[in-house]
């Protein structure tokens, strides 16, 4: 075995140990159970909202003509709604609190000194926490999506004609169907997975700078509101003042990396495949760019700061 292979193997073993240690902390602290319960509740809530719309359309007082055919939902759509519509505003805040506590809580408990006298560089402590935290985020997303999907499938059945195919996976060649819809759900999951990455990274950075969970959540929410504000508020400003800088900023916001997918899925005239692939790469790179910047800044502060 070469020295390099041995080094990589040793590092992988160490990383395995440290990530598992952080994972233990997340679960024993109660975050694991709490996150899963909230995720499950979130999945059920999304399903109930959809079922409410379905029920009103089919049996309600405002029943449309031919309401027996009111089959606009399918089971997989419940999973997509979970990921698209409510996950960021609801679960996002819960996850920010957990990640903030994972990084910031150790300052308050004065336990960082225990970690930092170990024979590992500080950046490895940061990375171990980050990997464990990201795994936790993915697990919570998965649970919420699965529960909504299972309930949706039970209530609405498989694919419907109105369900869109997924051009990224099918190249638009395949007609809408269960396979294409499942592909769309997977892409939605991956899109949210990488969109969560910069939010997680910024949360970790804020926790290390502020050393407080409450301040971390507050600042990250403010940042996200400003980021989203470029989309929600500034277009009005642009229109009213004929000031177009916000239009130029828009594609570079964190939200842009997410809204691209929104536009992609809900645009009834899907964009050509080539453009779609190019745009999805841009969105991915944007999310990774923000993540790398935040992680870099966090590690820079974490490695030089005085612990107590």
């Amino acid at each position: 075995m070469s020295d390099f292979t041995k080094l990589v193997q040793d590092e992988a073993v160490l990383l395995g140990h440290t990530v598992r240690a952080e994972w233990t902390k997340i679960w024993r602290r109660g975050f694991g159970r709490a996150g899963l319960v909230i995720a499950a509740a979130h999945g059920v809530l999304v399903f109930l909202v959809m079922f409410g719309i379905y029920a009103v359309g089919r049996w309600g007082p405002f029943k449309a003509q031919g309401a027996e055919e009111f089959d606009i939902f399918d089971g997989l759509q419940a999973g997509e709604w979970t990921l698209f519509s409510l996950f960021l505003p609801v679960m996002g805040i819960v996850l920010m609190a957990v990640i903030g506590e994972l990084y910031g809580g150790e300052y308050a408990q004065r336990t960082y000194s225990l970690l930092m006298i170990r024979p590992v560089p500080r950046w490895k402590i940061f990375v171990s926490k980050f990997i464990a935290a990201y795994g936790y985020v993915l697990l919570v997303m998965l649970v919420a999506t699965l529960i909504a999907t299972v309930l949706g499938l039970a209530a609405f059945g498989g694919s419907r004609e109105m369900g869109m195919g997924d051009p990224l996976l099918t190249g638009m060649a395949e007609p809408p169907g269960f396979g294409a819809r499942l592909g769309q759900l997977c892409v939605t999951f991956l899109a949210l997975a990488y969109t969560m990455l910069p939010i997680l990274a910024i949360t970790a950075m804020m926790a290390i700078i502020t050393r407080s969970t409450a301040l971390t959540v507050t600042y990250v929410i403010i940042l996200m509101v400003i980021d989203g504000g470029v989309w929600l508020t500034f277009p009005w400003v642009t229109q009213a003042l004929e000031y177009e800088i916000f239009e130029q900023i828009k594609p570079y916001t964190i939200l842009a990396s997410r809204l691209f997918w929104w536009e992609y899925f809900f645009n009834m005239e899907p964009m050509p495949l080539k453009e779609l692939i190019s745009e999805s790469w841009k969105a991915l790179l944007l999310a990774l760019g923000y993540s790398a910047a935040a992680i870099g800044a966090a590690i820079a502060v974490f490695t030089v700061q005085d612990v107590e």
Binding site: V13, T24, L114, L115, R118, D306, V307
Partner: protein
Amino acid sequence: MSDETALQTVGLTKSYDGKEVVRDLSLEILPGDIYGFLGPNGAGKTTTIRMVLGLIRKDAGTVRIFGSDRPHESRRALGGIVETPALYPYLTGRDNLKVLGAYSGGVDDKVIDKTLETVRMTKRADELVKTYSLGMKQRMGIAQALMTDPKIMILDEPTNGLDPAGMREVRELIRELNTEHKLTVFVSSHLLGEVSQLCNRVGIIQNGELVAQGPVQELLSPEGAMEVKLEVDDVETATFVVEKLEWASSVGQAPTGEMLLRLTEDRCAELNQQLVESGVGVRALIPQRMTLEDFFIEVTGSTGEQIE
């Protein structure tokens, strides 16, 4: 000298807000020492320990562990606790050791069992740390420091807040670590009695500066000389006998009337023999040893109120 030292600091300096709290501090701890780091509260002991453990950055100076000043290389040789050990309260004692051991590359369950046995915590190891008394936390703090199989154990005020029985237990544990586990121990304290019972060498710090350092016996009796109080039935003859001795000298009279002599401890028996052979009845020969407290007050100019 540096190659022979277990732990050496050279010119260690640290300022907060422009005020130097540790100034040009050079300590030398030899292998096998139980080194007492003494000083009044606020003298700079904990700041020094934090710099040695790499928890805070030093403004100037070097820390060498067995001659090496490369922090990650040398940190494996160090184990320590800073003030009251802050363990993870939501984990059991055993899980705390597992989590912290993970950051040392992972530890075997047998090592954890042995470490728990060393600190006499086997019975309570599977209970949550938040249920532990302060003494138990101190012992668990020592246990976590042992996880890296260190060569040097650094303990900051290890008996702080403990009742007399707890203090005694920790003292015994420190002795055991030194004698049975062959660890060099660096222990900071403001309790002079504790240090004098434990340590073979001491360093005294005041206002961030080292004011004395060396073996306890050498500091308390330079060149081995000490005062002896002599109570005899014939002062005149005794004075005549003492005047003839080259290795003893009269230094006056005690307020209670006894003679005060200066000589080395190993000559006491010989002095007694000479006096008896000269027909002088010796009622008492009492060595007047300087205590660590006397020495501390002498070198620091402290009134003794600053220390306990």
